[in-house]
Symmetry: C2
Subunit: 244 residues, 2 copies
């Protein structure tokens, strides 16, 4: 019998934000695969390190970090082939996914290669977006707000339209687009209504008004939230970005 | 010393989708409050019933179900006052929240009444939106998709604009707005690219093409997802709505 492929969301950073289901499947799996940079630690692996055991086979999927984190076809082909060999032998394989597997994640590249041939299950996770509103102490969206989620690499026109239309906006994958996105928010007159967040739920999380950010780039997983009409509340955030 | 108010997300329905943190805080709290209808079972309470113990004090917050689930001021005033008396005595109080507490949830009504006077922490949860993509086996959004989340009670113009602009849309709180929203999706030529979901992750979940839905109303927590360009994939969903 073939093994099952599980894509499990490991959440935004705090290991305790794994779901009980993800924890059960992770600790019972023979093989654990995860995205990893060329050098340094895998973020997804670091989140669940305390739950892993020495008998598990680990498969780091090394995605070269370029200017963009693009889907590197040959990397995923190779990883899918290695995972398939374990599934063929009857072993379950867990793929660790930062946040939620199917919310702008890279798990789709493995899923599309393997789901046709093997049983596959996705276990949803806490996205950093949901965690952002928790650490900010303010709803991401409420009542009948229209919430638009915009990947920061989007072109200027897309971003300008979204800034005009939505009641609340979340820019994800801010990274090297910080300066450009901040400029567009400023031109829309919304800087005073924008909060900047990085590494939420981790010890070194940063939360501050966008106006207090003085760097041109940010970590890949940083977020800008725009709350129309929230000037007073944004202004009350600590400008040093330290946790509240 | 005052107790702490916790708003914890209990997820979309499957009890195992609680986070480990939510589980720890829930099982350690003396007092557990939760939204409940005038008659019948509280959905949030039913999700975590197996984790509760007989020594915990329970506070049902009975929000009358009218045409809309509106914030009933006196109900929340009364609940906040009852919760405050427990916090004053030093007991921690957990408020159960369907999905995520700060993603279109009602926890904000208690938070705004109590967070100024008591320590308060929000534990994020799996929203039914994230769970929808997991049960569908398809990313909610990918790469640089702009994703717009539209509460179904929004007016026609807001919905029409969103249907034009976004790459992917999620209509939440569909309920009695099903027929109107389905009509607007049809006028935009997007019916063949829309999926309908209700009670995701529960045994009686339903997933089907929007075109196969023949009722005018839906449960409050139902969802319509529109994926532009996904005709073939939507057409392959089972039209009887049974779990895949």
């Amino acid at each position: 019998m073939k093994g099952t492929l599980y894509g499990i969301g490991v959440g935004p950073g705090d290991p305790e934000l794994l779901t009980m289901k993800a924890h059960r499947i992770l600790t019972g799996a023979k093989v654990v695969a995860y995205p990893a940079p060329d050098s340094g630690e895998s973020f997804a692996h670091s989140i669940v390190a305390q739950f892993l055991n020495a008998d598990q086979i680990e498969i780091p999927i090394i995605v070269p970090m370029r200017v963009e984190r693009f889907p590197a076809k040959s990397v995923y082909d190779q990883a899918a082939s290695e995972i398939a060999s374990h599934l063929d032998s009857g072993a379950d394989v867990v793929v660790l996914c930062e946040g939620d597997p199917f919310f702008y994640g890279s798990f789709m590249y493995l899923f599309e290669r393997l789901a046709g041939d093997y049983p596959c299950e996705v276990v949803p996770g806490i996205s950093s977006l949901m965690a952002s509103s928790a650490v900010l102490g303010r709803p991401l969206a409420a009542r009948n707000d229209v919430l638009t989620i915009v990947p920061a690499p989007s072109d200027d026109e897309t971003i300008e339209t979204a800034l005009t239309q939505a009641d609340a906006l979340a820019f994800i994958k801010v990274g090297r687009h910080l300066e450009r996105v901040a400029g567009l928010i400023n031109r829309a007159g919304l800087t005073g209504q924008a909060a900047y967040l990085e590494r939420v739920t981790l010890d070194n999380q940063k939360i501050m008004p966008l106006s207090a950010v003085d760097e041109g780039a940010a970590p890949y997983f940083s977020i800008i939230l725009v709350y129309k009409g929230a000037e007073d509340w944004i202004a009350a955030l600590p400008i040093d970005g330290l946790a509240q």
